[in-house]
């Protein structure tokens, strides 16, 4: 029996193994993903993002508890950075979630970014599909600690929660483009700290500058102290309101279309690049080209055109 069949029968080890093969880009994993794809699309994907240290993992931990209390099965993808120098990583988000380690209704997987930009890892989408096919009701994706521009989560998750804390920046930070634009819900965490109300006021002002029509979703702002469990109920309420908003209007369909588009283009790009690079590396030509470029014997545009012409003929 293949991994996909075993996963559909509830085999945890098979799921964990396929996740590894996806992450390691083992070619056979693609065959398994194909078989799982028809069984996906039921899970609600929730993204948690924000700067390092704002409390994403702790918040995720409390959300797991809350969803479990509702009897929902929860899959978690927790992403931490890969070292650009050694390729290694310390994946420590789990530390805050270990109270759920032995709960059979919870599956937590730590992922390293492995060089991907954007706050997710390259395999995040596929991993979310696997959790979905395993029958998880909720898939929680905790991004790597992000700065201003890592907005990929917004393409994968139906609801994006951006976590911040008091004192991170002034009101100009709040009107810049990027991460603040993708939030459906803001959580001002560590709200017992000085300046929490000011942060809420600044976010509110930023939202007031936006033009939200009758039918638009205006992001909600929640104050929380995740460590003590304060504000978690409000957050849950905000999440279910956003979910209801999406299912009332065209939101869910739009999101599904957008997610499919982004995912397909990404896979296509990867497969194309993979096929082209494979040939170059096998013949040792890549190094030749790079040496030629460094010596200024040719230009990268001409070589790229030439290589593409050759590789795509077949």
């Amino acid at each position: 029996m293949g991994l996909a069949e075993r996963i559909l029968q509830g085999d945890i080890r098979a799921a964990a193994r396929l996740m590894k093969e996806v992450d390691d880009q083992i070619p056979s994993a693609v065959q398994e993903l194909k078989k799982l794809y028809p069984h996906t699309g039921r899970a609600y994907v929730l993204g948690i993002t924000g700067s390092p240290g704002v409390g994403k993992s702790t918040l995720t931990d409390k959300l797991i508890t809350a969803f479990r209390a509702e009897g929902k099965k929860v899959g978690v993808l927790a992403i931490d950075p890969t070292s650009p120098f050694t390729g290694g990583a310390i994946l420590g988000d789990r530390i805050r979630m270990q109270s759920h380690a032995t709960d059979p209704g919870v599956f937590i997987r730590s992922l390293a970014t492995r060089g991907a930009m954007g706050g997710l890892s390259k395999s995040t989408n596929a991993m979310a599909h696997i959790l979905d096919a395993m029958g998880m009701d909720i898939v929680l994706i905790e991004t790597v600690g992000v700065g201003q521009d890592e907005v990929d989560i917004f393409k994968t998750a139906q609801t994006a929660v951006v976590v911040t804390v008091p004192g991170l920046g002034d009101d100009v930070q709040a009107i810049k483009a990027g991460i603040l634009e993708i939030a459906h819900i803001f959580v001002v965490n560590k709200a017992d700290r000085e300046g929490a109300d000011r942060t809420v006021a600044e976010l509110t002002m930023m939202l007031d500058l936006g033009h939200y029509g009758e039918r638009d979703w205006r992001p909600m702002i929640i104050k929380a102290e995740a460590l003590r469990g304060v504000g978690i109920e409000d957050l849950l309420e905000a999440i279910s309101r956003h979910r209801a908003y999406l299912s009332r209007g065209p939101g869910l369909v739009t999101h599904r279309l957008e997610r499919a588009r982004v995912e397909f283009l990404e896979i296509l790009r990867d497969m194309l690049a993979g096929r082209v690079l494979e040939g170059l590396e096998a013949q040792g030509r890549l190094e030749q080209i790079i040496a030629q470029l460094a010596a200024k014997e040719t230009d990268p545009y001409s070589v790229a055109e030439e290589v593409l012409k050759e590789r795509l003929r077949g």
Partner: protein
């Protein structure tokens, strides 16, 4: 380049033992060796370790232990792995384990114990030598 298999190694601490400096040093050394380290933090039960190892599909479990509970913790982890059909995952130990206990632990299935003062390169080389073979199989 992209096709290289990454080794995923669990680093954990069990029971009431609150001294995690050694675990952090080894986690850092593993990271620098290019491993993906799943760090569980303190106060784990053998059940938590095994369940984590399975969900994360790790290539090896390393437990740092200084409390003297090794004679319980290691055999229990191995027993649970066996119950779940996951005893192909090697279990390694580090920390303070009296000489006379080592043969017993090895008989119980612990693959290696690294005592105080072991250079971090020793467990790293052990893992590279023994674990690559496992994931290739």
């Amino acid at each position: 380049m992209a096709k290289e298999k990454k080794l995923r190694i669990l680093v954990g601490k069990c029971g009431l033992d609150g001294h995690d400096r050694g675990a952090k040093i080894i986690a850092r050394a593993f990271r620098d060796a290019g491993f993906e380290v799943i760090y569980t933090g303190l106060h784990q039960t053998p059940e938590m370790i095994v369940s984590t190892a399975i969900q994360e599909d790790v290539d090896a479990i390393t437990i740092s232990i200084l409390s003297g509970a090794h004679n319980y913790v290691f055999p229990r982890i191995i027993e649970l792995l066996r119950e779940k059909g996951a005893d192909d995952i090697p279990v390694l130990g580090g920390g303070i384990v009296p000489e006379e206990d080592i043969p017993k632990l090895q008989a119980a299935g612990v693959k290696a114990i690294f005592g105080p003062g072991t250079p971090t390169t020793v467990p790293i080389d052990w893992i590279k030598d023994h674990v690559r073979a496992r994931s290739a199989a």
